[in-house]
Symmetry: C2
Subunit: 315 residues, 2 copies
Amino acid sequence: MDLPESPRIAIVGSGAIGLYYGARLARAGARVSFLMRSDLPVVRSRNSIIVREKAEQWQASPVIAEDQPAAIGPVDVVLVALKTTANASLAELLPPLLAPHTMVVTLQNGLGNEEQLAALVGEERTYGALCFIGVNRVGPGELQGFHTPGSMTLGEFRRAAGPKVRQLADWFQRAGVRCIASDDLHAARWRKLVWNVPFNGLCIAAGGVATDVVCSDPALLAEARALMHEVAAAAAALGVSIPEKFIESQIDVTPPMGPYKPSSLIDHLAGREVEVEPIWGEPLRRAVAAGVAMPRVALLYALLQQLTKRGRNER
Amino acid sequence: MDLPESPRIAIVGSGAIGLYYGARLARAGARVSFLMRSDLPVVRSRNSIIVREKAEQWQASPVIAEDQPAAIGPVDVVLVALKTTANASLAELLPPLLAPHTMVVTLQNGLGNEEQLAALVGEERTYGALCFIGVNRVGPGELQGFHTPGSMTLGEFRRAAGPKVRQLADWFQRAGVRCIASDDLHAARWRKLVWNVPFNGLCIAAGGVATDVVCSDPALLAEARALMHEVAAAAAALGVSIPEKFIESQIDVTPPMGPYKPSSLIDHLAGREVEVEPIWGEPLRRAVAAGVAMPRVALLYALLQQLTKRGRNER
């Protein structure tokens, strides 16, 4: 069954990522409903989502926003953009949105999110996306893009890309997002970790510094590279080949980013929960289960758990 | 040549450790001279060092204090109690204090200090001590003990303990400090690192926490144990055997310490320089030179360099 000409899309988790993609898809002609709580009164009365980007400032209007999934009902596509730390709420939020053909796509970071979705909605309805984007929520239903529209890799859970995921990729393309459908979502997730594990982690553990500080400190940069090699070794044991030249490319792309703050660091500095489990905890557990030691990741994971716990306490 | 009945002792570095041992030795009858800069006017005019301990409050008086080593001249024993980060100044401070028979004893932490001394004064005049003590300088020439008089292990550089080091140990005993002469200073230094590497390091890197926080966090405590095993593996490659039961004893002694702040953490929190090289840098370099990887120590060392650099900048 193909996606309909104007698919119904529900956005679960109306933070920056959910609002941004929802607004883009709505403007491109999809029938988008936002599930939101705190922003609901403002967004409803204004009846728009405001987006400021370098190239243009624009609004998505009208906006369909609800605070209960039953008010939205079954849709063709659910985009899950919750913080992973709130995944326990999905058991309650998803069922009213599901039809037998519904695609449930997690836009979340790291490993383990597709598995959690599959347990709730079944493997055959489970999809995932890697989002390469920088966007902040600056007010209720109000966004500031700094690396937008960015790009996206879509894939299916434990399956090669089929026609429907290609059609969804076309929708994102139509909405202005460079989007490709991958035949190997699992491999794509491990490749993204090659950068996220060292840089999201070291930026927090080295005292809340941006990537330029890591890159200009020879000892920290050597540790970033060593962490990347641990990720690659774990991936290899799990059937994902990550060549040396990919690792070097991930080092090379970083200095040009300047004083870039990874999303985990932004969350940490703002006193918000950091997604420690999908980026460090779950990859480490899978590596250990496969008999691969990740000593540096293990130390970093332990430090991050403590450091981000303190962040929450001091909020 | 034996130590004379009342040995002349020069204290180089009049922070808490140097002042404390100097005051103890002076009270026991040694002829002690303190080399000091900032505290000199107050100590000279008061003519005493004030010590507050649980058991008693006492003063060492009179005090011989100078700001130039030439004003002290050659002595029988030099106790080096500078911060290791100031070791470059030893090339200027030591020569006026030396006679052919002078014992030069570093009371400093970690690895590499005896080698630096030996390069300046010769191997045959080089000695070292491990100090197990807790004492703070609370004002000019004024000390507060919280774990005093503590204990000490004295040894010779690359030699078994000879008669003179035993006589010096007797002097510390007479001064109230439990002191033993060891035939293997090198092994004693590595054994002390088994505790210092994990706990001094994790307490800083986990956000400036005391040891009780590390002990009550299962992930951090597992990392402390893993760091201890890295130290033991490096020591083994360098000829020092550290049995498993010693490692477990070092874990076991820590929870009863309560919210203990290791010296490195105290320095860090006060914005003072942290002795990163002797505790993490030098052991790591020796392990790598011996073909032993210390991945966790390497990551911790890189983080500490950055974190303590920031500490100094923000002072």
